[in-house]
Amino acid sequence: MRVYLSVLKLRLLNGMQYRSAALAGVATQFFWGFMIIMVFQAFYQNAADTQPISLKELITYIWLQQAFLVFVTVWFRDSELFDLITSGNIAYELCRPCELYGFWFAKLLAQRLSSAILRCFPILIFSFFLPRPYNMTFPPSLSAFLLFLTALMLGLLLLVAISMFLYISVFITMSPMGSLLIFGILGEFFAGLIIPVPLMPSWLQNIANVLPFRWTADFPFRVYSGHIPQKEALIGIAIQLVYLLVLVWLGRVSMNRILRKVVVQGG
C-alpha cells in the first residue's frame, strides 16, 4: 500500500507542474459552461410544463461538470501507458516489485486528481460570484455536501477502474483508437456530458442507471444540488461501492490473465 501511495504522491507533484496548461483549460471550460447554460436557459424559457430538474439545479450541475471535467471524460488518458504496451517497454514495468494493476491505478488516479485540483478551484470560485442566474449555488445542507464529497471520490475511483479496461484492451488490440472511441462516446453520453441524465427520456435513463458511467459523475453532482435526496444518496453510494469492487476485481483478473500471455518482442 505504501508503494502505491508514494506513486500517487510523486505523480501528483509531477502533474502540478503544468500550471499554464491548466489555466488555458480553465478558460476553455469556463466559456464552455457559459455556453451550455445559455442554451439551456433558452430551452427552459418557454418550456410548457415543469421539468424533472430545475434550471437552478441544472446550472450548478453544469458548473460542477466543468470544474471536475477530468472526473468525467474518458479521453483524458495517459498515452505514455499506451506507448509502453505497443513499444514493448512494458517489460520494464513488469520487473517492478509491485502489482501492475495497482501501480497503474495509482498513476492514473494521481493524474486525474492533480489536474482536477489545479482546475476546479478557479472555476468554482468564479462561478460563485457570477451574476444571477449564472451563478453556482451552495448545497442545501452540510450533510449533502459531505455526501457529495464521498460520492465524488468514489466516482473518481470508479472512473479510473473503468479506464483501466481501456489500457487492458490495448494489450489485445495493440491500438488504443477503437476502444477509446467506444468508451469515449458511450461513456460520455451515459455520464450525462452531452445532455444531463435527468433530461433524458425514461428509457435512456434506465439504460444509464444500469451502466457504471452515470455513477462516476452525474450522481455526485446531483447529490450536491440536492436533486437527489439524502436517503437515496446513501443507496447510491452503496451502489458505487459495489460497482467499484466488481470492476476492480474484474480488471485485476483480466489483467493478470493477459499478462500471463503477453509476448514482449525484443528490440
Binding site: A24, F31, E188, M200
Partner: protein, 260 residues
Amino acid sequence: MKLYFKYLQILFKSQMQYRTSFWLLTVGQFFIPFAVFAGLYLLFERFGQIKGWQFFEVALCFAVIHMSFSLSECFARGFDMFSSLVVRGDFDRILVRPRSTFIQVLGSKFEFTKAGRLLQSALVLIWALSNLPIDWTLIKAITLVLMVTSGVFIFTGIYILAATMCFWTVQGLEVANIFTDGGREIAQYPLNIYQKWVTRFFTFVIPFGTVNYLPLLYLLGKNNGDDLLYILTPVLGSIFVLPCLLVWQMGVRHYRSTGS
C-alpha cells in the same frame, strides 16, 4: 494549385498505409458529432422548441456549421497543427522553398478521416431539408452553398490566426479552441437564442452569424424584407479570412527560428 493536389495525393497515400486505423478513425469521426446530434434530438423531444425554433430548423443550422467545420478541419489542418512545425524548427525548411508559405503549410496536413464527420452532417442536412417546407429556387440553393463555404473560410481564418500566434508564443494555444470548437457549438443553434452580446460578438467580430443564422432566416422565409442583404451575408462573412491572411504575412516576417 497543382502543387496542392500533389500534396494531397501523397498525404492520402501515406494515410492509407494504416488502413484499419484509418477506417476506425473515420467511423469514430462519424459517431462523435452523432452523439451530439442525438443529444440535440432528445432535448427537442423534451422541450419541443427553443425560442420558437423547431427541431428541423435547428437541425439545418447544425448541419451547415458542422459541414463547414469538418471541411475546414480537412483542408486547414496544417494550420491547426502548425505549432509542431515551429517547435521542431521545420518551418525553416518551408521558408527556403520557392513557393508561398501559405500553400505549403496548407498542404502539410490533410485529415481524410474527417470524411466521417462530413458524412454525418451531410445526412443531417438531407434529413432536415426533406422535412422543411422550403420552396426551392436557384437563389436559395446558391445561398445554402454559400453558407457552407463561408463557414469554411471563417474556420480557416481562425486556424490561421491561431497559427500566427505561434510565431510569438512558439507553443500552440489551447485558447484558440474556444473560437473553433466553441464557435461551432455556439453556432449549431440559431444565434438569437443567446444573450445580445454573444449574438453581436459572433456576428460582427467572428462572423459565425453570417454562416447560418442570417441566411437561414432568408431560407426559411423568416426575414423581413431586403432579401439581397440576407443572401449576401455569407459572402461578407468570408471577408473575415482576408485580415487573417494579412496577419499571417506579418507573422512570417516576424518569425525567428527556434534553432535545433
